[in-house]
Symmetry: C2
Subunit: 178 residues, 2 copies
DNA sequence: TAAAGCATGTAAGAGGTTACATGATTGG
DNA sequence: CCAATCATGTAACCTCTTACATGCTTTA
């Protein structure tokens, strides 16, 4: 996670640790601590994926090496079913992924959420039928359904956008869609 | 987290490990693995917070001990600013928290989300002004704002409900509020 | 009786948090 | 010159994940 975050942010422009943390906060990843960040920077430097630039004052800005760029592409491309935060992180760097892979990733994510929605709906039905959950538990179950539905809607928009991108890229691949 | 989950679920009724996992899945905590669950059960047993009941077949059902009930109350009551998952977990067991503590917890959570919303809005403004974020990053920023707003609305409903509960409990404390 | 699903468990290690320590820089 | 904020770093610890191993129980 932290590796993906660092490499992805440095891919755009060199930054030092403190800046990286601020940028991650902006992107919604609030709980990245310095205790995670700085050791990760050293580790990535040792692996030759990033390198420090001139130090201005106390600031130590890092930039991505060519090897780092390759590794970043590899990590970004290798997606499975994953945690919400991790998906969001990947999405933050979608610009560096080829359109086809974007669409694949989005669809897989959608399936994952559909599954979660079914689980949540089944749980609410069971709970309502048996009538044994308190107000707060019931509220949580309904909220789970609501947020998952909202996420699916959002994903549908992203998928629609990604499709137009792909069509723009591949001008006319012969027929329609199969 | 896992301790709170186990103690909270056992507080209602005895269950064995496999059942606990199924119930957590229903409540929306999808990624609790057996590798977390079973060692946690042993640890809690050693600490005397839970105890195994009769084993029917291979199933080993645990129940909460009196000490366990105390410890659960302690953990449930001690809230600070916390991760989303952890807040949801706490909410799942709100029925075991006194109304005053419920209201306190909900309000603190609300403040936390308000802060997050401001951060997210500022980030979007900056991003729009500088116009340097791609479509997907911008989509992520807007989505962060949307989900946080939805969470705050939800919280407001919960707070309203918790208030009626508290008023029902304390019949007439002399004057109005303060 | 074989397969699928139920059920419990361990070991290694990845990944993260918290708390602490240090010092530079900037603004009132 | 003091406080706040910027900035980097370390060490101890905790928690969870992954992968593996095992064996029971039900049903086709």
């Amino acid at each position: 996670m932290i590796d993906l975050a660092i490499l992805g942010l440095l891919r755009k422009q060199p930054r030092h640790g403190y800046e990286l943390k601020a940028r991650l906060l902006e992107l919604g990843f609030s709980r990245v601590s310095f205790g995670t960040l700085y050791p990760a920077l050293r580790r990535l430097e040792k692996r030759g994926l990033i390198e420090p630039m001139r130090q201005s004052g106390r600031r130590k800005a890092y930039r991505l090496t060519p090897t780092g760029e390759e590794e970043f592409a590899r990590i970004l491309g290798s997606a499975g079913d994953e945690e919400d935060r991790r998906f969001n992180m990947r999405l933050a760097f979608f610009q560096y992924l080829e359109p086809a892979a974007r669409l694949r990733t989005l669809k897989r994510r959608r399936n994952q959420l559909i599954g979660r929605l079914h689980t949540a709906q089944a749980a609410l039905q069971r709970s309502t039928a048996e009538g044994q959950d308190d107000h707060y538990t019931a509220a949580l179950l309904r909220h789970n359904i609501g947020t998952t539905e909202a996420d699916i809607d959002w994903l549908d928009q992203l998928i629609a956008y990604a499709r137009t991108e792909q069509e723009a890229e591949v001008p006319r691949p012969l027929g329609g869609k199969k």
